[in-house]
């Protein structure tokens, strides 16, 4: 099982995030020579202190074995090639309330932009969600796992489309996807191609993930396994482009958001062939 602490530490280094991003874009095994060259060309901080050869050595002797240990990458030490370990292996760690507490404690507020807010209770989370949807100007990415929750957001999402906001909606529930298709013409439906939402019968699960203009994020979990009749919901909120919570979600979701273009009918219709 992946050590949460290890994963969190590993993700806090820009170079590790760059490695994950490059591996994610490639979707095939990459040799460390190619990886080193790409890192040097993409990270000015690295370029200033290390040559490509030195980066290659660090990749083999430090970075990739550590990412492997954290469960994020598979590194073949004999062939010197690395692949992304399926993000699914990360997912159970995210669905852990204690992990959230740990995550929050790491974000020590140095100024206002670093503050990560906590919202507890379903009603408060719903209110925050609505606020976030309402203030979105350009792009709204919304994942919702629950029909009731979805219906509550319905009006504000509708209003967002009226404001010409680019809305992408994802849900693991097929019937919700159909509803969205019928009611909104302009909303892009995101059919999850990776199974990170679809782990069966695991509590708590992600109830909603809302990314507004890529600079505000609300992520909430719901635990239905408890003794109480009503499921508890627990959300964290990050505001601002440099907010650590926003940065983290954007780093993890960024490539997926960009790949959405390939799924949209609009994109396909613009292809030359």
């Amino acid at each position: 099982m992946v050590e949460e602490d290890e994963m969190l530490r590993v993700l806090s280094y820009p170079r590790n995030r760059a490695i994950l991003k490059l591996l994610n874009e490639e979707a095939r095994a990459i040799h460390i020579s190619k990886l080193a060259a790409q890192i040097v060309s993409q990270l000015p901080e690295t370029r200033q202190t290390q040559t490509t050869e030195e980066v290659r050595i660090s990749l083999h002797h430090r970075d990739l074995p550590k990412l492997d240990r954290a469960g994020l990458v598979k590194y073949n030490r004999e062939e010197n090639v690395a692949t992304l370990d399926h993000f699914g292996s990360v997912e159970p760690e995210w669905l852990d309330m204690e992990f959230f507490g740990e995550l929050l404690s790491r974000f020590q507020a140095t100024d206002d932009t670093d503050i990560v807010g906590v919202v507890e209770g379903r009603q408060d989370v719903a209110q925050s969600a609505q606020k976030l949807v309402t203030k979105t100007d350009e792009e709204l990415f919304i994942i919702i796992d629950d029909t009731e929750v979805f219906n509550k957001c319905f009006d504000s999402v509708h209003a967002a489309t009226e404001r010409d906001v680019d809305v992408t909606c994802g849900t693991r529930r097929a019937e919700l996807r159909d509803t969205v298709r019928q009611r909104f013409e302009d909303v892009t439906i995101w059919d999850p191609q990776l199974d990170w939402m679809n782990r069966p019968s695991r509590n708590p699960r992600i109830a909603r993930l809302i990314i507004s203009d890529r600079n505000e994020v609300l992520l909430s979990l719901r635990d239905e396994s408890g003794d109480s009749d009503t499921p508890t919901e627990f959300g964290i909120l990050g505001e601002g482009e440099d907010n650590p919570m926003v940065v983290l979600v954007r780093e993890l979701m960024g490539p997926r958001l960009d790949h959405l273009d390939y799924q949209s009918a609009d994109f396909r219709s613009q292809l030359p062939f």
Binding site: I32, E54, I57, S58, H60, H61, R62, K66, N80
Partner: protein, 99 residues
């Protein structure tokens, strides 16, 4: 192994053959990389064919403990790839761990 940057003439256990090699720690570059170059040369193995150093020792610890900024007055030894590696304030010394 025609070129050895520094032979370890001053120590009691030094031998005339290649039983010990010593690399100076440079101002620039990571201590862990100097360790790797020394072991690579000592064992005549390409650096990338050596098993990842981080599987043996915490590389960050090595780089932080023995950097130009720190006053690394304590010597530190560990076994890696059948070698005995000793890091001092300004050198990396590699010898056969089985001798």
């Amino acid at each position: 192994m025609a070129e050895t940057p520094l032979t370890d003439g001053g120590f009691e256990d030094s031998r005339p053959d290649q039983s010990v090699i010593v690399f100076p720690l440079k101002e620039q570059g990571l201590t862990s990389h100097t360790v790797l170059r020394a072991v690579s040369e000592f064992t005549d193995t390409p650096i990338l064919d050596l098993p990842p150093l981080v599987d043996t020792i915490e590389v960050d610890f090595l780089d932080e403990m023995f950097s130009p900024d720190t006053d690394g007055s304590t010597d530190f030894s560990f076994k890696y790839y059948d070698c005995l590696v000793t890091v001092t304030a300004d050198t990396v010394r590699v010898s056969d761990a089985n001798k």
